[in-house]
């Protein structure tokens, strides 16, 4: 599906917890977008902030898209105050998106680090609607119980949810990737999907490699163009043609974990 540049309208903006914002947007040209794809949106008309901000689709609905945004700096702070009806300049959908598991796949394990949950929510919803035979397990890692509580409402109830927090206030204490030690996670043999900090994705990739299971990771990088033109968002990878810098925006953001963590 082709990328368009258009104006979306805010339907609702709602704060979840202290610093997570759920945005519902009306954007008719994005209805065919796939899980794992993202948009680049302008935060204002002026020159500060200047660059567009990239956000994964957290849901694609019958009338538009939803975003789940963690407030980090100037841009996301402004987004949290967007009123209903506000016009948002958006380019999308961008990137490759998740490759859906083949029909008949028995199990998928989605591993989210904090706000990395956003694209995995979109994938979980897609799997629920299109792969009813596939058992979906969501492993969510967060720093605190508060962070965790802000995210849980967006996880489809169709997922089996397991949680790890740094402070142990929800789920088990420790890293989300510690949950992969549980032998039940590997039965039946799943496809892994991950989004979150690089060390988390590295640990996930290691686990998948040891188990000989497919694993796809969604990466983040600072972006300027979002379409593959500026080469600003590259990460080192081992491609079929040898070591190279790949563009997170245009070659990704989703990669086979073996390319990124050889």
């Amino acid at each position: 599906m082709t990328t368009h540049h258009g104006i979306a309208r805010i339907v609702t903006t709602a704060l979840s917890g202290t610093d997570t914002v759920h945005l519902v947007l009306e954007a008719p040209w994005l209805l065919q977008a796939r899980p794992g794809q993202f948009v680049m949106l302008r935060v204002g008309d002026g020159t500060a902030p200047l660059l567009r901000r990239p956000f994964s689709l957290c849901a694609v609905t019958h009338s538009g898209i939803e975003l789940l945004v963690k407030i980090r700096g100037n841009g996301t702070e402004r987004m949290a105050r967007w009123p209903a009806g506000h016009a948002v300049d958006i380019i999308g959908p961008l990137g490759n998106g998740f490759q859906p598991p083949p029909a008949g796949t028995a199990s998928a394990v989605l591993v989210a680090g904090g706000i990395g949950l956003a694209p995995l929510v979109c994938l979980a919803r897609w799997l629920r609607d299109n792969r009813p035979e596939c058992a979906v397990r969501m492993l969510l890692g967060a720093r605190t119980g508060t962070d965790c509580d802000a995210l849980i409402p967006f996880i489809p109830p169709s997922c089996a949810l397991q949680i790890a927090t740094d402070d142990g206030s929800r789920g088990t204490r420790g890293l989300v990737t510690d949950l992969l030690e549980d032998a039940a996670v590997l039965r039946p043999a799943p496809v892994f999907y991950g989004c979150g900090p690089m060390p988390m994705l590295q640990a996930l990739a290691n686990c998948a490699r040891r188990a000989g299971l497919p694993c796809f990771v969604s990466l983040e990088a600072h972006m300027a163009c979002g379409v593959g033109a500026c080469l600003g968002c590259t990460v080192p990878a081992i491609t079929p043609r040898g070591p190279a810098q790949v563009r997170v925006c245009a070659d990704g953001p989703v990669f086979d974990s073996r390319l990124i963590f050889p």
């Binding site: 020159t47 500060a48 902030p49 200047l50 660059l51 600072h222 500026c230 600003g232 190279a244």
Partner: protein, 303 residues
């Protein structure tokens, strides 16, 4: 309707708005977002003889009204460019200007020679901001003699219109411009990025892996306008102005300062529809002020 076409040597532009090197890839990446033909011309990502891997990341960081980049001139190299990208570029309506660079004079010469044999290239743009590794890494573009020397050799190697792109990181850009003109350049483009740096006080580390990077965007516009104005007073050859253009009003500043055309880089990231918007805005301005041809505005600064 006012005529906004421009002639630069044998290069004919339907309108004076050009996509700047490094921001429009190899001309295909913006397909679907930027219609073929809205830019008067496009400049491709700077190519070198051999493929270049570029710098490690992070490569970009946003700054107040601007951005720093340290891409490290990553490109696919001459051969892949000619065999993979030129066939697609030849199919475009938009005239193609090929930007290139080297780290020795011999590399610039070989690139210019080999590109001259390639069908479908409207002009060459030599990026002389690169370090000359035979001269201790001093940029060709910051030394008057080196800038003239390299221009003379490229000039002898090609019959294509030759645009030399100047770096603002020179002590006296007007002197460099004059020596490049005397060495045979058909036109000049300026400015390339200004070297900058951002530090995260918490970690005490630079935000770019390369430590320093090139500043672009509205933050550099007043410097770019000033430099274009100085250079236009120093040379007779056409000057293409760029640096931070976001609107028709910004582009008009460069034209009034003396540039006959403009390029847009960072502005394209922010608004892929910028070319049409700026070209239409220039036309509207001309209508409102009773100008019929672009050259009535170029260099029309009142002081």
């Amino acid at each position: 309707m006012p005529d906004i076409s421009v002639q630069i040597a044998s290069l004919h532009l339907k309108n004076p708005v050009i996509a700047a090197s490094g921001t429009f890839g190899y001309g295909q990446e913006y397909a679907g977002l930027v219609e073929d033909g809205v830019f008067g011309a496009l400049v491709t990502k700077g190519i070198s003889l051999l493929p270049a891997p570029g710098n490690p990341g992070p490569r970009i960081v946003e700054t107040p009204s601007g951005m720093l980049n340290a891409i490290g001139l990553q490109n696919i190299g001459l051969e892949a460019f000619v065999s993979e990208k030129m066939p697609l570029l030849r199919a475009c309506m938009t005239p193609v200007i090929v930007n290139f660079y080297g780290t020795t004079a011999e590399q610039y010469v070989e690139l210019a020679e080999r590109l001259s044999d390639v069908e479908g290239i409207a002009a060459l743009e030599a990026n002389i901001s690169c370090p000359n590794i035979k001269q201790g890494g001093v940029s060709f573009g910051t030394d008057e003699r080196m800038a003239a020397g390299i221009t003379e050799r490229i000039r002898a190697a090609t019959r294509l219109p030759l645009i030399v792109k100047l770096t603002p990181n020179a002590a006296d850009i007007a002197r460099i411009a004059r020596s490049v003109e005397q060495a045979g350049a058909d036109a000049l483009s300026l400015i390339n990025t200004l070297t900058g740096m951002v530090i995260d006080p918490e970690t005490r580390r630079p935000l770019l892996a390369n430590i320093t990077g090139g500043l672009s965007g509205p933050a550099i516009r007043p410097i770019a306008v000033r430099m274009v104005w100085q250079v236009c007073r120093a040379v007779r050859i056409p000057v293409i102005g760029l640096g931070g253009i976001m609107s028709a009003g910004d582009a008009l500043q460069f034209l009034i300062a003396g540039a006959c055309a403009v390029q847009i880089g960072t502005g394209l990231f922010v608004d892929p529809a910028i070319a049409g918007r700026v070209a239409a805005g220039i036309r509207q301005y001309m209508e409102a002020h009773g100008f019929e041809r672009l050259d009535q505005i170029v260099g029309s600064l009142i002081v």
